[in-house]
Amino acid sequence: MEDKNTELIIKNLHKSFGKNKVLNGINFKLTEGERVVILGPSGSGKSTFLRCINWMEEPTAGEMYFGGELVTEKNIRRIRRNIGMVFQHFNLISNMTVMENLMLAPMKLKLMKRNEAEKRVKDLLRHIGLLNKADAYPASLSGGQKQRVAIVRAMMLSPEVLLFDEPTSALDPESIGDVLSLIRELAERGMTIMIVTHEMSFAKEIATRIVFIDKGKIIEEGAPEEFFSHPKTERVKEFLKKVL
């Protein structure tokens, strides 16, 4: 049976866009405190897999259990509060200031009192060194600043799991470091994390498990040392030869 530290169970997940089959039966289990890095060639379905977890893409078939509860169209909205997501293109709400972006979910979902939320926003912004940007609109921030605000926004509801969809792919090399160190810090605090990334050294450093996806299936998974130094499948060997 499932132990109580299991966050997420995915059984036989399929996703198609029209006739295009992207995910072809993914089975996956996520345990509290794990940091899973999803690797794979482009077009392999790794982002789609991540986006299916909080139903940014509605799965075509398969079952998902979050905290032991079967995820359905009815309860997905409530479940999403426990799954933070950070996007490649930040997706800060452009008609709202940084402060308003961070206050949005706690206020609209009535999960915090205003002064309590404001205090939390200020503490978090101070922590990432962007308190002076509280009243700025996203358009006036740099990419790295936007992504750090986006990470803080995902943390506002204290989710159980954080999903990162290529969080540094749209950033300049200098900002990448800032964003990665913020993710690293969350990892050190024991956050359960899933990341799709192309930053191999970061993957090696942060992951407790690597999952390799190709053609919509998980082909290989394991601890990072094992995965990078003794890959089992030919496909992964070939992939690592190209990227390392």
Partner: protein
């Protein structure tokens, strides 16, 4: 040239002519105003139905909206006006101003629908995704995130539609209504000034004045809505 100026003096010194122009102008404004009210309301509803997430409840409404905009945009306004006057509202005693308002309102709705639809679709899908990922309802996402951003894209095109409707109302003279265009024609006719040039120019100035005013107002609204853009800070 001397003749032109004497005609100008004649027009402005004859109270009946001024009165006719103002009456015509008032009718033009009334038709345009109420037609735009109908157009914007109905057009927004059509656009919302069109961009709403497909569901089986919306299959028929979506189909109706699409057919509606296709027919309205695919036929001349003048013809639509004639059909309204001589077929649908050909009831004796039905006030012609109401018929005209309905005709222009229904026409404007189809164009407004396209403007609003385009505005909503121009908002980056990532904005909606951010809201969904935070667990917000579609309703909250629409009103707090998508609509405020869509309006910025809608306002300039909407200003264009307002201007188009005001000018297009001039065709009501074809069904015998006394609008600004008709007033100019009437004042210039044989039994009055017997010269079209001055009244036509004055009528043109009336149209130009109101449209200039609207353009200015739309620019102001646009400016105030662009607060969150970098463009406004420069």
């Amino acid at each position: 040239m001397n003749d032109f100026f004497s005609k100008v003096v004649e027009l402005f010194s004859t109270p009946e002519y001024i009165d006719s122009l103002l009456h015509g102008f008032l009718l033009t404004i009334q038709i345009a105003y109420f037609a735009l009210l109908i157009g914007i309301t109905l057009g927004t509803i059509i656009a919302l139905v069109d961009v709403a997430k497909p569901s089986r409840w919306l299959v028929v409404p979506k189909f109706i909206c699409r057919v509606y905009t296709t027919i309205i945009r695919g036929t001349p306004m003048a013809l639509q006006l004639f059909i309204m006057f001589f077929i649908i509202f050909a009831i004796k005693g039905f006030p012609s101003i109401i018929t005209a308002i309905i005709a222009f309102g229904l026409n404007s709705a189809a164009y407004t629908a396209e403007v609003v639809r385009g505005g909503i679709l121009s908002v980056d899908a990532g904005q909606t995704e951010a809201g969904l990922a935070l667990g917000l309802s579609r309703r909250t996402i629409f009103f707090k995130i998508v609509a405020p951003q869509a309006i910025k894209n809608i306002i300039p095109a909407m200003g264009n539609e307002i201007i188009t409707v005001i000018k297009e109302t001039a065709i009501v003279s074809m069904v015998g209504m006394y609008d600004l265009n008709m007033a100019a024609k009437d004042i210039g006719s044989g039994q009055n000034m017997a010269s079209y040039i001055v009244p036509m120019f004055v009528a043109a100035l009336f149209y130009l004045a109101i449209i200039y005013l609207i353009t200015f107002a739309v620019k102001q609204v646009e400016k105030s809505l662009r607060k969150s853009d970098l463009r406004a800070e420069k």
